[in-house]
């Protein structure tokens, strides 16, 4: 048993890893159209989203889609928004160019999102007093085909027909999702849709942007949950123990699917308390373990977060936020758990909180979460939210060999002391069975051997040891990404990255520039100096009080304005653009 080796053995004296370099490539054009599709849960609206995003990508477009759905299994009124563009797009819009209502409820539900220019398509049977509808014979076609569940295929066909796109591409996208038995009738439904869509081409539909086949072919299409999952796998995750909770379940599902391909142990635990304790047991034994949860579940984990900090056992926690508390809006979005992530637990101990803002950052910082947890022997919390987790977007090829693999565990000798004082506060970590030493992990205050002590001197030294680790980690904090320059900083964190980027590009106001934080705790004051030189600091956050703004204020940064939203939705480009425009137009 002692003959086995630790792959990628590393120590804290190794330089901090740097993430693979990525050059932001500017693409020509800025045209986009939006399509909103509304229907009940359980009628395959998510399948429709997958088919369409895949088909538009294959047709040479940049696509983005996001959904909002009710916390119920069937029925209700849900929507999926697609944006089709000739440049990368990573944000939703509120107003839509085309709206397709699959039932009457959808019309009322999405009413506010229609403008005078929106073209509304709906089944012949659907009428609305105030909304002008272009009728499509969905139910008639379905009757002939023998089933309501072909509605989505029919509708995808209509869309492709309207824009005169290649039916073969749509078929390809569909074939990736349906099995032999299903595909035949779905294809038939799709074809009828295409034919009908083509007959509508004289209507004043918005023009599709130009196609960029070569660009989009080399890109990948996925949702935020999958991107996070790829990041965790790049970080070597080989154990996930979690209790299902929207919107974090996407990661759990993804990892479970990947357990078919890797040594990756997946256990659905009895509760979140067990989840995080299992994660700690896993790391103690040498695993790279993580859990996935949302705010309510994370609240239950807080005692074990403290244990991770105290016992210096690494832990990775993926926390997908949703509006809370107890239990809020289970399937909607908010950045409302930042304070929970930063302050949960009893007593002082170091932790790192990361909040990736797009698919690439989900991968980078998913990987980094494992690297940091292992390196500093402390909990690392990766924040996502329903919007980021569920949205589908595109990203460039990722070279996974570029992520430096490391494992900070060393074979122990007979005199090994788990909590030995070192200059930087970090004791090399051993695991049971690797080497001659005995490995301990303990929640009570302890001496260097890990034995319980109530000595005030030892307590003082151990508290300082643990505190030292976080001072060291701060030195490796990733600085916020600064995009552009100007006198007015538009500051965001996590999933608001895409929407702020687009709004600033649209406003084209030379005074505005974007500051995007991914490493949200602990902050390195050196990275904040620049915000003391800006004339105006505006923070945009998807919560009711401005949790991150308050943290910046604690670091002596003046916050002049906050744009906050806590209605269950992520920010929309068109609405945010208007708000920001009104805010800055009076500014000097």
């Amino acid at each position: 048993m002692n003959e086995t080796k630790v792959p990628f053995e590393a120590t804290i004296s190794d330089q901090a890893v740097s993430l693979p370099e990525k050059r932001e490539e500017e693409l020509p054009g800025r045209d986009s159209i939006s399509i909103l599709i509304g229907g009940a849960a359980g009628t395959g609206i998510m399948t429709l989203e997958k088919i369409l995003t895949g088909a538009f990508k294959r047709s040479g477009y940049f696509v983005f889609s996001t959904k909002e759905y009710m916390s119920r299994v069937r029925g209700g009124s849900n929507t999926t928004l697609l944006r089709i563009a000739d440049a990368p797009v990573n944000a939703p819009c509120w107003y839509t160019d085309i709206f397709i209502a699959l039932d009457t409820d959808a019309l009322s539900h999405a009413h506010e999102r229609l403008t005078d220019h929106t073209i509304v398509l709906a089944d012949e049977n659907i009428t609305h007093e105030e909304i002008e509808i272009t009728k499509i014979p969905v139910s008639r076609a379905l009757k002939e085909l023998g089933g309501r569940h072909y509605a989505n295929s029919y509708v995808t066909g209509v869309i492709f027909g309207i824009f005169g796109l290649d039916e073969a591409v749509l078929t390809e996208s569909m074939e990736a999702l349906f099995d032999e038995e299903e595909i035949h009738k779905n294809k038939a439904a799709m074809h009828q849709g295409v034919v009908y869509g083509q007959s509508l081409k004289d209507l004043p539909f918005p023009k599709l942007p130009g196609q960029l086949q070569q660009k989009t072919n080399s890109m990948h299409l996925m949702d935020g949950s999958s991107a996070s999952g790829f990041g965790f796998l790049a970080g070597g995750c080989n154990m996930i123990t979690a209790y299902p909770m929207s919107p974090s379940t996407g990661v759990l599902n993804f990892m479970a699917s990947m357990s078919e391909h890797f040594t990756l142990l997946v256990e659905q635990s009895e509760d979140e308390i067990a989840s995080l304790n299992m994660v700690l047991g896993g790391w103690f034994g040498g695993a790279r373990a993580m859990t996935s949860t949302s705010g309510g579940g994370f609240a239950l984990m807080s005692e074990a977060v403290s244990l991770s900090g105290m016992s210096e056992t690494p832990a990775v926690i993926y926390l997908a936020q949703r509006p809370g508390p107890a239990t809020g809006l289970p399937t909607r979005s908010e950045q409302g758990d930042l304070n929970l992530a930063i302050y949960s637990g009893h007593g002082y101990f170091g932790r790192i909180v990361l909040a990736p803002g797009d698919l690439q950052e989900c991968i980078d910082f998913g990987y980094l979460a494992f690297e940091l947890a292992d390196r500093y022997q402390m909990p690392v919390i990766t924040l996502s939210d329903q919007y980021l987790a569920d949205s589908i977007g595109m990203l460039k090829r990722v070279d996974f060999s570029a992520y430096v693999q490391r494992r900070y565990i060393l074979p122990t000798d007979a005199l090994y002391e788990r909590y030995k004082f070192t200059e930087n506060g970090i004791t090399p970590r051993g695991v049971p069975g690797l080497g001659e030493g005995l490995v301990v992990s303990t929640s009570d205050e302890h001496d260097e051997r890990g034995q319980i002590t109530e000595s005030s001197h030892m307590r003082d030294k151990m508290v300082k040891k643990r505190k030292k680790k976080i001072s060291l980690a701060i030195l490796e904090a990733h600085s916020p990404k600064v995009m552009g320059e100007g006198s007015i900083a538009v500051i965001g964190w996590g999933s608001t990255k895409g929407v702020i980027t687009e709004v600033l590009r649209e406003l084209a106001d030379p005074r505005l520039f974007q500051v995007h934080f991914v490493w949200v705790h602990p902050l390195d004051p050196r990275h904040l100096e620049m915000l003391k030189e800006t004339k105006t600091n505006i923070v945009i956050e998807n919560n009711v009080t401005g949790e991150f703004s308050d943290i910046l204020k604690k670091h002596d940064i003046d916050i002049h304005h906050r744009i906050l939203q806590a209605d269950g939705f992520a920010f929309f480009t068109d609405l945010l653009k208007e708000k920001l425009y009104n805010l800055v137009k009076e500014q000097k």
Binding site: F262, I273, V279, G286, G433
Partner: protein
């Protein structure tokens, strides 16, 4: 007398006369006699006096949170099935605070030995009722005596078809030793509920009381018969001690890992495969 498994220079926090001392001695002897390598043995515990056991024995240890030793143990065994994993704690720790984990760990069936020091009282918090306190037991909190039905870990474990279900009385040392040995030899989850007196806070359930109120299960008992085991578990005058039930089932780690018993720290992911899977998106 010093045992090879003693940790040296340790201040033991138990009261003189505590039943914990005998359990500690028993555990050390069983580990030695079964030639279990302390360098491949981990004791996982929670909070409480019983949960301090790992501090006094020369094996690896993980002393965590109140009630949470079992999930830690299961994941630890999963991360390295070659380890011998023991979860140890008191009745409040394992049956009160950790009750939910008790149920679900049995369902998982990790190959661990679960030792519960059962003294029917909360000692460390100075004498309140525990889940196993007998009805009528008076404490500063249960001033009129305990009203609640005592938790019967044996019948609960049997209801969940735990692989190995036993109870011993530390006052009957030789018998306890033979049962604990069997628990270690059993593949899968093994419960050993240990009657043990709290000499300070439980003046009712004393060494004498346990001696007079327990009886070894007779040899004729068929420990493969779940129904008769359950019948035995419900007897209480006297309370049976011994192995109630034993059955072989596949373990948590076998179910998740098959024959792969390599420590997870020795493994890494195939990056080419990851690249390929990503490419499919």
């Amino acid at each position: 007398m010093k045992h090879p498994l003693d940790r040296t220079d340790i201040d033991n926090a138990w009261c003189p006369g505590c039943g914990n001392f005998a359990i500690l001695k028993l555990l050390k002897e069983v580990l030695t006699e079964l030639e279990l390598d302390p360098k491949n043995t981990v004791i996982v515990s929670g909070i409480g006096q019983a949960a301090k056991t790992p501090y006094y024995i020369g094996t690896h240890m993980f002393c965590g949170l109140h009630g949470r030793a079992l999930p830690v143990s299961a994941a630890l065994k999963l991360s390295n099935p070659a380890l011998t994993v023991i979860a140890e704690g008191g009745d409040g720790d394992m049956y009160g605070e950790g009750g939910n984990h008790f149920l679900h760990t049995i369902r998982r069936n990790p190959d661990i030995v679960h030792i519960v020091h059962n003294n029917m009282v909360y000692g460390l918090t100075k004498g309140q009722a525990s889940p196993t306190s007998q009805k009528g037991f008076k404490t500063p909190v249960q001033v009129k005596g305990v009203n609640n039905e005592p938790f019967n870990p044996v019948s609960v474990a049997l209801a969940l078809k735990a692989g190995f279900v036993s109870r011993v009385n530390i006052g009957n040392y030789t018998h306890a030793k033979s049962v604990l040995k069997e628990a270690f030899l059993h593949k899968g989850y093994a419960l050993v509920d240990v009657f043990q007196p709290c000499v300070v806070f439980n003046k009712v359930n004393t060494y004498k009381w346990f001696k007079e109120n327990t009886a070894e299960i007779e040899d004729s008992h068929d420990s493969s018969n779940l129904l008769s085991a359950m019948q035995k578990a419900l007897e209480n005058a006297p309370v049976p001690i011994g192995i109630f039930y034993q059955t072989m089932q596949s373990t948590f780690e076998e179910n998740l890992r098959g024959d792969d018993t390599r420590a997870l720290y020795s493994l890494s992911h195939d990056i080419d495969k990851l690249q390929l899977l990503f490419g499919a998106y």
